[in-house]
Amino acid sequence: MQKRHSLSYYQRWLTRRIPPNKKQTLHRKNIFILPSKAGLGFLATLLILWLLGTNYQNNLILVMTFLLLSLMHTCMFYTYAALSGLSVEVLSVEPCFMGEQAQLRCRISSRSGRQHQQVNIGWDGAVVSTVTIDKNEVKIVTLPLLVTHRGWYRADRLRILSTYPLGLLKAWSKIDLDIDILVYPKPISGDLPEPRLRDVSSQDENDPAVIKKSISQKEDISHLREYRVGDSPKHIAWKAYAKGQGLSTKEYDTQQTVKREQWFLWDDFSGLPNEVRLSRLCDCVLQAEQSDMRYGLQLPAVSSTKTKSDVLGSGTEHQQALLRELALFDQPDVTHPSATQSLNKGIS
């Protein structure tokens, strides 16, 4: 609980005022409005005008000063209306790799019966997208977000801002869409580690050290057939082509071949820093899935890592389970906002 205090007063106030939710509608309780930089310049111009009007006792200059000042007052309503009634909802959050940008798909809709011109959507310091939402229109926007650490990444509050109509005022809201992104380690490409042949006699399939002999054997080519458009170049019989026999494709006897199997071990990359090990392992998982083999992962037990998929397997689901394991290695598997935020600080 001590960590909670490390959040600034502003952050805590914001959390109370605009609590996290997957869908947020903008209204008077979560829209803030202040003069923009351009608005301050405008006010400075008006101050000079007022001095001019006062010193020359010129009513028309004063009238114009007041007219422009009250124009700013009018704009306040327009700027507020440019945001009020907009709804933002997260549609999906895909996991991503470190160093990549997470893609958040959001739906922006309006029930206000008004057009919302040039709504800026983004995070602090970066406008990601500027959209105009027509009357009762629904728009889907994809917002890229640069993730900065592995594990569960809590997205910042999304900032929605408008300076419509004259740019003199900015209305904004910072909404917490309750987004947690699973961030995998950044894959560092390299060769797959040499399979270790430690105990050949063991027949236990799940023993990580056991590698079936068939792995090292070349798969048998059953026959050659004529090349067809779309065949993989890997499977072209280049030797035959070189002999001038024309293009032909190697057909494998899948029935006969035994799938390669390999366990990737934490110790395969000993000597490297932890994060780099994870990155290499991540790459292995990706490569293995590509090359159509059965594979598994053996990570040392860390207290915070609870679930383990200690099985060999293949397929997207298996891959994702392993990647998740890598992502959460030595990271808390919690997505609660306050907990992640405070922990994030501890790690970085």
Partner: protein
């Protein structure tokens, strides 16, 4: 923040140029000729830049432009701290800025400069038409800002929105003008350079005063007892002209020299006894003139308000500095006599009877004949006045006069107004050796009943003559009164011929009645504009506020601030939010109702969840209520997915659902 370095659409740049044209047009009379040339070159350059046929100026070129234009400005005006060079400088800055628009910020700077320069136009002109033109340019300038912040805005839509925004702002602006406390000038400000003076100037040649008569500006206000003012004595004396070159009257000594000399001499101020019935006390609130002399009924002594008033030998009163802001001073005048009755020296006599020998020969000859016929000074004066009375007409649009102005006026055109009469009368006096001089100032004024003061306008400017009679001293003679006595008694417009009246000498007006009526209407509008907008000041504000609010209390002040804000808010919001939130359909409302009910007992609705699913969860949690919930679920789905259900059935179904929801 939106990206600063953005692509500026062509439409935006073109509208910027259009507003630039408008702003320059508003300052048509201020901008020197070379400025127009510069403007045209820059606009063409800008357009070529847009079409990518020319490069944007390099730093060196920009620096050269700035330096050469600044130098030109200095040669033109030879000073900086006057309004005109400042405004022209702003326009120059604006013009050069057009060449280097790269970011949004540059556009912002230009638009703010537009606002500023448009407002500066009111320093030079304040007529109704000019104000309307300014508002039009203002709408266009605001449209440029709109273009910066919205997509695909057509010019028509942009103009409409801009006009609507400004219109919605007028209410609060008007309230601010009426209610916000007004402050006196914070520091003294320089006036225009070549229109350095307003009102009567320090010389008089034909046409000078007629220019003033078209001016409806206030010259000064006189606060006094109304009874003390008699029409025939309201000659607000300003300057005395004793030097005539055949066409033009002026002081034989520059005003500045007089002030300097007098400061050393420190002429004793004659005491005036207040008990005398000719003595009158009053206070004058003088509008800035940019000149040194003060106005008053002769012989005037300033009793308060001016630190060291200076009295000249010709009974004029000066202050040391130019009057660049409104001043208030108290005066005591002795109406019975002009002060310097001591007698004229030979030098004075020669000076006051001098006429340039080669001009107005005929006048001098005729004058001598008339004097011989009359026999005495008094009889001669009477003869001259009757000549005026019988042969002359009073008009503000007299024919142009050539070299011998007095000859032509007296014997040929015989049409004119005060400056012609006073000038020719003085010449006629001097021709026979009677010392005479021209006096300029104001005559008459308009009593303001609500404020209890006399308002003297520029259009009341007047010129008359003072002659020296051996036994009486200086005597005021107003030859204009001989021609148009009504001018003196009832003011200017009464004296004019019918068709000239409403326009105070504007031009020979067509005799069309509808045109006349229209022009009368226009005059009325112009008058209201003058009295309600241009003349609105602290006095008027206070009397208005006290009239409608009575004594100011805290709660009233808060009301005055809050109520207009609320009204403005309502007014603007009506336009914006009148659509409200899109209405929920009947079935959505019912579903919302169910959700609320179930939420109370702890079953939260999740976004995207179907009715069936949601109700199923509720049933799992509360199996004992399953029957009711299931019924609601089925009926709701029927409502949702059978939109073409007959109304009657809809009603019964709705009622059933409501009943069931309530009993869940």
């Amino acid at each position: 923040m939106p990206a600063n370095n953005m692509f500026l659409p062509r439409a935006l740049l073109f509208s910027l140029l259009i507003v630039y044209g408008g702003v320059c047009a508003l300052h048509f009379s201020q901008l020197p000729m070379w400025m127009w040339l510069v403007s045209v070159i820059v606009v063409l350059w800008r357009v070529q830049l847009l079409r990518q046929k020319m490069l944007s100026p390099s730093r060196l070129v920009k620096a050269l432009c700035v330096i050469s234009l600044t130098a030109l400005l200095y040669f033109q005006y030879e000073q900086w701290f006057a309004v005109e060079p400042m405004v022209v400088f702003l326009v120059v800055a604006l013009t050069l800025k057009l060449l280097e628009i790269r970011h949004r910020r540059d556009v912002l700077v230009i638009v703010y400069l537009y606002y500023f320069v448009i407002a500066c136009g009111f320093l030079f002109q304040q007529s109704v038409l000019y104000s309307i033109a300014s508002v039009v340019v203002l709408i266009f300038a605001t449209m440029v800002l709109l273009h910066l912040h919205s997509d695909h805005l057509t010019v028509k839509k942009g103009l409409r929105l801009s006009a609507v925004l400004l219109l919605q702002s007028t209410f609060l602006a008007a309230v601010m003008l009426l209610v916000l406390p007004r402050i006196n000038p914070l520091w003294s400000v320089p006036l225009h350079s070549d229109q350095a003076t307003t009102g009567v100037s320090d010389s008089m040649s034909p046409g000078d005063i007629s220019g003033l008569i078209r001016n409806n500006a206030l010259a000064f206000r006189v606060t006094t007892d109304k009874a003390a003012l008699a029409k025939d004595s309201m000659y607000w004396r300003g300057l005395v002209f004793d030097d005539f070159d055949g066409r033009r009257w002026q002081r034989s000594q520059a005003v500045d020299e007089t002030v300097k000399l007098s400061a050393f001499k420190a002429e004793p101020v004659p005491a005036i006894q207040s008990s005398d019935q000719h003595v009158i006390d009053y206070e004058i609130l003088l509008e800035p003139t940019g000149q040194k002399w003060l106005y008053g009924i002769p012989s005037a002594v300033v009793t308060r308000g001016i630190d060291t008033p200076i009295y000249s030998s010709q009974t004029e009163v000066f202050q040391k500095e130019d009057i660049n802001q409104r001043i208030k001073y108290q005066v005591r005048s002795d109406k019975s006599k002009l002060r310097d009755v001591a007698g004229l020296s030979n030098r004075d006599y020669r000076r006051l009877t001098y006429l340039p020998p080669n001009s107005n020969q005929k006048t001098q000859r005729v004058a001598r004949e008339w004097w011989q016929q009359a026999g005495s000074n008094e009889a001669y004066i009477e003869k001259v006045l009757s000549y005026y009375r019988n042969n002359f007409t009073y008009t503000l649009s007299p024919p142009k006069l050539g070299r011998d102005t007095v000859d032509e006026f007296l014997f040929e055109t015989k049409q004119g107004f005060c400056e012609h009469y006073s000038s020719s009368f003085t010449v006629l006096m001097r021709a026979v050796g009677i010392p005479a001089r021209v006096v300029v100032g104001y005559q008459g004024g308009e009593w303001d009943n609500s404020n209890q003061y006399l308002k003297v306008y520029q259009r009341d400017a007047h010129a008359w003559t003072e002659v020296w009679l051996d036994n009486k001293g200086w005597v005021r003679i107003d030859p204009t009164a001989a021609v148009a006595a009504i001018r003196i008694e009832q003011g200017l417009s009464a004296a004019l011929p019918q068709q000239e009246r409403q326009f105070v000498g504007r031009s020979n007006v067509a005799n069309y009645r509808w045109l006349l009526a229209m022009q009368q209407q226009w005059q009325a509008v112009d008058y209201r504009w003058q009295s309600w907008v241009l003349d609105y000041d602290t006095d008027k504000q206070q009397s208005l506020l006290s009239q409608y609010l009575g004594e100011l209390t805290m709660s009233k002040i808060i009301g005055v601030v809050v109520i207009p804000l609320l009204i403005a808010a309502l007014f603007i919001s009506f336009g914006l939010f009148r659509h409200g939130v899109t209405r929920l359909s009947l079935e959505q409302k019912l579903y919302r109702r169910l959700q609320k009910k179930l939420q109370k007992i702890g079953v939260e609705h999740q976004s995207g969840e179907s009715i069936q699913n949601y109700c199923h969860r509720a049933i799992v949690r509360y199996p004992q209520r399953s029957k009711k919930i299931l019924a609601v679920s089925q009926d709701l789905e029927e409502l949702f997915y059978k939109p073409d259900m007959p109304n009657e059935k809809k009603h019964t179904l709705t009622a059933k659902i409501k009943r069931n929801i309530n009993s869940v």
